[in-house]
C-alpha cells in the first residue's frame, strides 16, 4: 500500500466512513445547538477545523515527547489534552482578537464553545491512540497522518453540520406537528442522515 493511498484512506475514513457526527455520534451538542442557520454553522465548522487541527498536533507532540517517555500517558492523557486544548483555544482567541477583528467577529463567539467540545478531544485522543477508531489502516500515527486524520474529522464535522443546517432552515417553514418542532424533528433528521451515511460502510475495504 503506497503512502499516498494510505493517507487517502485515513482521510476518507475519518471524513465519511467513520463520520464523527453521524456514525459515531460524538459532539451532538453543536449538531443540535448551532445548526439552526447555515451562516452560523459555517462559522462553527471553520472554527472547529482550525482548533481541531491545532489541538491534535499539539496533543501528538505532548504524547510522543512528554507522556510516552515518562510512561504516564495511559492514565494522564485526558487531563493533559484538555489542558492543551483549553489553553490553545484561549491563546488563539487572544491572538485573533488582537490581529484580526473581522475574523474574531466571524469566529470568536464559537471559540469558547469549542474549548470543551467532545469532538476536539476525541480527535486529539484518536490521533495518538488510534485503537479507539475501528479504522484498519489506523495504528501508530505519524504527525502528517495525524494532521490528515484530524482535517478529515473536522471536514466531516463541517460537512454534516452544514447539510444539517440547510435541512433545518427548510424545516423552519414546514408544517411540522407542534410536538415535533425544534429538537425532536432535528434528532429524527439526524437519524435518517445517519442511515444514509451508513451506506459508506465497507467502502474501499475500510
Amino acid at each position: 500500500m503506497s503512502e499516498i493511498y494510505r493517507y487517502f484512506l485515513i482521510f476518507l475514513g475519518s471524513l465519511l466512513i467513520y463520520n464523527i457526527l453521524l456514525i459515531r455520534f460524538i459532539a451532538l451538542c453543536p449538531l443540535i445547538g448551532v445548526s439552526t442557520q447555515v451562516e452560523t454553522s459555517i462559522g462553527m465548522a471553520m472554527s472547529v477545523l482550525f482548533v481541531m487541527t491545532m489541538a491534535s498536533s499539539a496533543s501528538w507532540v505532548a504524547w510522543n515527547y512528554i507522556l510516552v517517555p515518562l510512561h504516564v500517558g495511559e492514565f494522564l492523557y485526558i487531563p493533559v489534552f484538555i489542558l492543551i486544548i483549553a489553553s490553545l483555544v484561549q491563546f488563539t482567541e487572544m491572538v485573533i482578537k488582537k490581529t484580526s477583528p473581522p475574523l474574531y467577529r466571524a469566529m470568536g463567539i464559537y471559540l469558547p464553545l469549542i474549548t470543551t467540545n467532545c469532538a476536539v478531544l476525541a480527535a486529539a485522543t484518536e490521533s495518538v491512540k488510534p485503537g479507539f477508531l475501528k479504522l484498519n489502516v489506523a495504528y501508530h500515527f505519524s504527525l502528517p497522518e495525524t494532521l490528515i486524520y484530524t482535517i478529515g474529522v473536522a471536514l466531516g464535522f463541517g460537512l454534516v453540520l452544514i447539510i444539517f443546517a440547510c435541512i433545518r432552515e427548510r424545516l423552519e417553514t414546514a408544517p411540522i406537528p407542534h410536538a415535533f418542532k425544534g429538537a425532536p424533528i432535528a434528532f429524527m433528521i439526524a437519524a435518517l442522515m445517519s442511515l444514509a451515511f451508513m451506506g459508506f460502510a465497507n467502502l474501499l475495504g475500510l
Binding site: L76, L83, M94, V95, K97, K98, T99
Partner: protein, 279 residues
C-alpha cells in the same frame, strides 16, 4: 506501589499547566485589546435585548457608537426614559428625554368579525399570505392574524388569540417599532403612550364595501368628525384619523361611532385584558 509514576505524573501535569499558565498570562498582556471601560457600563444601561430598533446591529454596536460620539445618549429606543437616563449617567451628560410610544395594531377584526374569502393553508407568515393574493381575509387592509409581528417582538408583548385577534401588552411593549416594519399591511403604528382614544381600523374601502367584509370597520360616516368639539378628527382615504396633538380624549367620538372602531384603551377587569390591555 510504584510511587515514581505518581511523581512523574504530577511533575508532567504541573509543568505543562505552569507552562500554559505563563504563556496565557504573557499573551493576555501582549495581545491586550484596549476597550473603553465605559462600554460594559453602557451595556448594562441599555435594554440589552439586541432588538436593533436603534438601527445598529446589536446593543454592543450601539454602545460603541455612543462612545465614539456617533450616537446620542437616547440611542436605546426600546429602553425608554430609564435607559436614556442610565446612558446619560455613564457618559456624564444631561439626559435628553424621548417620548416612548406603544405599538397599536390598526385592526379589530378577528375571525368572528371579518369575513373570509378563501382558506389560507400556506406557511404561517403574514408576508407569505400577503403574497398569495392577499391571504384568506376578504378585507384587503385588515390584519392577517398569522403572527409575524408576534414573532419579531423581542419582548413578547404581542399576543394572538384563537380568533386571530391581536393584543398588545402595553406594559411589556417598549415601542421599539420592529413590528411596524414586519407587518406587510403596514397596520402597526407606534402611537404616544398617553393617547387612550384610538381608531382601530385601517380600511380604505368605501363604507358599503368595507361593511360587507367586516363588522368592525371604519365606514367613513363622518359622525365622529361632527361629534368632536376640538377638530381633532379628520377623514382621509375613507377612514378616520385622530390628531393626537389636538385630541383631549373626551370620548365623544367613541359614543357616536356606529361600528365601535374608535376605542378607549384602558385596562379592564376582564382576564385577558389584564395581561394584554389593548387591541
Amino acid at each position: 506501589m510504584d510511587w515514581s509514576l505518581v511523581w512523574k505524573a504530577a511533575i508532567a501535569l504541573g509543568a505543562l499547566a505552569l507552562l500554559f499558565g505563563v504563556l496565557l498570562a504573557v499573551a493576555a498582556e501582549k495581545f491586550k485589546v484596549k476597550t473603553d471601560p465605559r462600554l460594559d457600563e453602557l451595556l448594562e444601561a441599555v435594554l440589552g435585548t439586541n432588538c436593533g430598533a436603534c438601527g445598529y446591529p446589536g446593543c454592543e454596536a450601539a454602545c460603541n457608537a455612543v462612545l465614539k460620539g456617533d450616537a446620542a445618549v437616547d440611542v436605546c429606543v426600546a429602553g425608554g426614559n430609564s435607559a436614556v437616563e442610565a446612558v446619560a449617567r455613564v457618559m456624564g451628560v444631561e439626559p435628553k428625554q424621548r417620548e416612548r410610544g406603544v405599538a397599536l395594531v390598526h385592526c379589530k377584526g378577528g375571525l368572528g368579525e371579518s369575513s373570509p374569502k378563501a382558506k389560507y393553508q400556506g406557511i404561517s407568515s403574514c408576508a407569505a399570505a400577503e403574497l398569495i393574493a392577499g391571504g384568506g381575509k376578504a378585507c384587503r387592509y385588515g390584519c392577517l392574524g398569522l403572527g409575524t409581528c408576534k414573532d419579531v417582538c423581542p419582548v413578547n408583548a404581542i399576543v394572538i388569540d384563537e380568533d386571530h385577534r391581536r393584543w398588545v401588552n402595553r406594559e411589556k411593549c417598549t415601542g421599539c417599532g420592529l413590528c411596524v416594519d414586519a407587518c406587510p399591511r403596514h397596520l402597526i403604528q407606534v402611537v404616544p403612550r398617553d393617547q387612550e382614544v384610538l381608531v382601530v381600523c385601517n380600511s380604505r374601502d368605501k363604507g358599503s364595501k368595507a361593511r360587507r367584509v367586516c363588522s368592525v370597520c371604519c365606514t367613513a360616516c363622518q359622525k365622529c368628525v361632527k361629534a368632536c368639539d376640538f377638530d381633532a378628527i379628520y377623514m382621509d382615504q375613507n377612514r378616520a384619523w385622530i390628531d393626537y396633538e389636538k385630541c383631549t380624549q373626551c370620548g365623544k367620538c367613541i359614543d357616536v361611532c356606529p361600528t365601535n372602531v374608535i376605542v378607549r384603551v384602558v385596562p379592564t377587569r376582564r382576564k385577558r385584558e389584564k395581561v394584554a390591555a389593548s387591541v
